[in-house]
Amino acid sequence: MANENGRPKVVERDEIVRALNVGKSFGTHKVLDGINLTVRSGEVLAIIGPSGSGKSTLLRCLNQLEPQTEGSITLAGITIDARKAATKKQLTDLRRSAGMVFQSFNLFPHLSVLQNISLPQQRVLGRPKAEADIRSRALLERVGLASKADHYPVRCSGGQQQRIAIARALALDPKIMLFDEPTSALDPELGLEVLAVMKELADGGMTMVVVTHEMHFAETVSNRVMIMADGRVLEEGPSQSIMRDPQTERAQRFLQAVKNR
């Protein structure tokens, strides 16, 4: 890994994310311990591991939905250190650069599909409504849901809602997209349409961090895979080699269990 000794290095130009010795405790319970992570521009990193391994928490630390209790995280040039509370401006800037897609979609149910995508552009980027709507419709087109613009989210299937959620995040022109188990709440068939959109994004050069249970996605779409267990990183490296030839016993056991399912 890039920085075993934990000393901050000069951030390279094409680095989008750098996590240094990140730890997270809830009370006395430690869910993340000494995590180091680098994501470069255009990279797709898949984070896998058994449930409770801390992978979702790590992702949520990256955009500060859960502030880490140890170490520092740099995302798109904004550094947040656990020893110092982040300012409002830092949080806004950081979240503007990171698009987040949730397991449970979290679309705004009282807004139409179009408003779901347009309102953040208007309020966060200050885009005029007409311009925001044009952008929203283009993104809906791209995720194959142009016809749903004036519907409400409840009228859409889970797979459609998740594609809308992706469009909502993309509308803010993020530098990186964070996916928190985006297909876990979906039937396998509906999950496929979401994965197709994600693959297209990856092919288009979007930087992505994906927490997932989809081993096929981890192996074929992502460039790198990170396996976590018990709040630590077990292994990390190029997708093919990690998925086919894990080195540690714990990682072998996990992959074996997943494949035998």
């Binding site: 987040m100 949730f102 979290n106 953040p120 309020r123 966060v124 803010l172």
Partner: protein, 219 residues
């Protein structure tokens, strides 16, 4: 029997005048009290201790003291401090306070019912705290609170009958006045009861229908 209807018919115009005053007071109390209730609901969650304590005091007094006492405080009490209110404005102030206190609790429950994921999603797209409240949390919370707020509004119309005690010429006062003039207390009070029921019964049924249809949509 026809005597009774003649008596009712004779006095109906006066009673309707009273009913209109009752509805006006209700309207003002709700129009002022519910927005105030929203502010109080947000104030109770404030991070500033002074704001939290102040809103809690306003809410606890508004909920803890009987509406009848509030009405008399504003009408008979304030002149001592040099503020003389008409019975209508005293009624409006007192009942608006009561309304704001009760509705703040209803609205707070509504805001708390908004799923945590909504707050997270609002934060994740970069909304400021104010924007998240204004566009995401408050609209959804008010929707949850709507049936309870409507139910409370029905109770508020009933509570205006307490304004009898401060000589506001609302429905009950008119009935009482006709009663003293004619000694026909029972028939005129029955008419008053019927007029209240004519509004409150359909309203109650409508609210429970709304509640049922809302719970079906969210399920």
């Amino acid at each position: 029997m026809s005597d009774l209807f003649t008596f009712w018919l004779e006095n109906l115009p006066t009673m309707i005048d009273g009913l209109i005053v009752s509805l006006e007071v209700t309207g003002v109390a709700l129009a002022v009290g519910i927005p105030l209730g929203l502010l109080l609901a947000l104030g109770v969650q404030s991070r500033t201790l002074a704001v939290r304590w102040a809103t809690m005091a306003v809410v606890e007094i508004g909920r803890g003291a009987p509406a009848l006492i509030m009405l008399q405080f504003f009408y008979f009490g304030l002149p001592q401090a040099g503020v003389s209110l008409t019975s209508f404005s005293a009624a409006a102030f007192a009942l608006a306070w009561t309304t704001s206190a009760y509705t703040s609790e209803i609205i707070r429950a509504g805001l708390e019912a908004v799923p945590y994921g909504q707050k997270e999603a609002a934060a994740a797209v970069g909304f400021t705290h104010t924007d998240a409240l204004r566009y995401i949390i408050v609209p959804q919370g008010l929707r949850v609170a709507a049936p309870a707020l409507l139910g409370f509004s029905i109770l508020m119309l009933q509570a205006t009958s307490l304004c009898f005690a401060i000589a506001l010429p609302e429905l009950l006062s008119q009935a009482y006045m006709i009663g003293t003039n004619t000694f026909q207390y029972l028939p005129i009070l029955i008419l008053a009861g019927i007029l209240y029921a004519l509004i409150c019964i359909p309203a109650t049924i409508a609210v429970s229908l709304l509640e049922r249809s809302l719970s079906r949509h969210t399920a």
